[in-house]
Symmetry: C2
Subunit: 326 residues, 2 copies
């Protein structure tokens, strides 16, 4: 919605060609029992996402992505969806004028935590990079410092800029009376970036580091991509049965709930969650039972694949538990 004054390029200068390259990057999410994991390539200074340039032998963007991921991590992807294309001239550092790198980001969901070792790719907890997003054990500790930092940042702005900053922060982080909205992951990251809180933004040393970092950085703009992915996924599980892309063939209802809780970063009301899953007809009995529960054995269920061919909008309309009924 920015009304930035666009440079009025003269119409005919089509000849001023731009040396363009496109990077295909993947946010690959898997769910261990309790934590959502993302596949990263541990890097020299910081971790990066699996990625590689689009090449002429890639018939489609998606095929190119799959090829790179397979090569770099040995992982064969199942569910894949396009996330966003980043292409600001200065999104990394100032590149040579006349050349530009686009980054086409994808979200992929995989079932297990196989692979990993090959080529040194490693599964990392998503919340290592975005610790303020995990509310499962109450308000994340990181928010203490973030809130203070954002307040200071808002005050530094001119009167109206400051007020605007304050309102944006209140909205994104649920300060004041506002309540936390799990889907605003990208908005929160961008606010922190703008405010100079995340270390990626501090190349130009504008503001001092806010004490020991509460979070891990990622290379390039990969943390922004991760934030985009998490926000999208949190939104999507509410109206599409994508969560099952992360589950094994059979699972208990609590496994399912824990996985959803991990992704959405909040606790859910157990009985209501079950009611939802049952009334939506998302799962069916396997007849088996899981006995290692530590309590009464739990039915093992599986995803009813037919729902994909029934109504398209079946997801898990979450509603968090006030007092986590675990």
């Amino acid at each position: 919605m920015s009304s930035s004054q666009p440079d009025r390029s003269s119409a005919a200068s089509d000849t001023e060609s731009l040396a363009l390259s496109a990077e295909l990057s993947a946010v690959i999410i898997a769910a261990s029992v309790d934590e959502p994991m993302v596949l990263v390539r541990p890097g020299a200074p910081v971790d990066t996402l699996p990625a590689g340039p689009l090449q002429s032998e890639h018939r489609t963007l998606e095929a190119g992505l799959r090829a790179w991921v397979e090569q770099q991590t040995g992982l064969h992807l199942g569910y894949v969806e396009q996330l966003y294309t980043f292409g600001d001239a200065d999104r990394i550092d100032m590149p040579a004028r006349g050349s530009r790198s686009l980054s086409i980001a994808y979200l992929a969901l995989v079932r297990a935590l196989r692979a990993s070792t090959r080529s040194g790719a490693r599964w990392q907890n998503v919340y290592t990079y975005l610790p303020w997003e995990d509310w499962r054990d109450g308000r994340p500790a990181a928010l203490e410092r973030i809130e203070a930092y954002l307040k200071a940042w808002a005050t530094k702005g001119l009167s109206d800029v400051g007020i605007m900053r304050e309102k944006r922060a209140a909205l994104a982080f649920g300060l004041g009376s506002d309540s936390w909205s799990d889907e605003l992951v990208l908005e929160r990251y961008e606010l922190l970036y703008e405010a100079g809180f995340v270390s990626e933004a501090r190349q130009d040393g504008e503001m001092a580091s806010p004490l020991p970092a509460v979070d891990d950085p990622m290379g390039l703009d990969h943390r922004r991509i991760l934030a985009t992915a998490l926000g999208r996924l949190r939104g999507k599980i509410k109206y599409r049965p994508v969560i099952f892309e992360l589950m094994p063939e059979s699972f208990t209802l609590l496994d399912l709930q824990r996985t959803v809780e991990g992704l959405s970063g909040m606790r859910l009301h157990k009985q209501n969650f079950r009611r939802l899953v049952e009334t939506q007809g998302l799962v069916e009995e396997t007849g088996e039972y899981e006995t290692e529960t530590g309590g009464r054995p739990a039915r093992l269920v599986r995803f009813r694949r037919e729902v994909l061919l029934e109504r398209p909008s079946l997801g898990l309309r979450l509603s968090s538990a006030k007092r986590p009924t675990i």
Copy 2:
């Protein structure tokens, strides 16, 4: 979700560079009183969307898009959001190997139907290109032929392919017991494309034209982009107050309803629509009245901009009227 075997490009051949260009294209939507309109450039054989290549003077993708649109149509864009990046090698016609054109598509919403004449850009009814999407006056006539065509197409497939085709068609078009889902615009277009029903798909003359076309084609893959945009917009008005980007400063509740109906392609229950808008606090009084209603004068209201800074998820959870209570 296709498990296409990716070509195992040798890791090191980074040198095999690809001559890449990126096209920025815009689906610019406005709402006349009763019909959603899209801005097109009337073309030699068919219409195309405003578009132009990314150039080095464009600092950001969005700025580039705005510049091209302003240049080609004289229109200054307000709300803009990225839609999707298309990049299949054969999305148009077979290009020279070693070169590739990406298409980065945006959705823009504008308020009035100004502009237009400049450079010959013209507003066209969205349903000119996607006539099967408009259910406001009952089942669209085009669906008669489409249904028959899809049935024939399904039958042509092998046993299991045929059954799969049939199920997909039933889901997308709400055949059988399934009911129409307004958001599946892209799914429907892609099905028609695959089945060879839309004329773009018939360059290779695989199947005879289904009699006089029920729809207008667009150039390149622009109709696919338009379908993507309409589907996205239909989804978005349900949980974000984007509809107001299309409305004038002040309007009546019926204006608002008509605009929503135009976009979503269905009739709504008037009283419940009003209740929704009021309880969500989306609008406020202007104190003025519209007297040209042909009946009792209507209050003129305006969008309450503050809602953008309150809860983020305020939209119009539509629920169609069984018997259009107009």
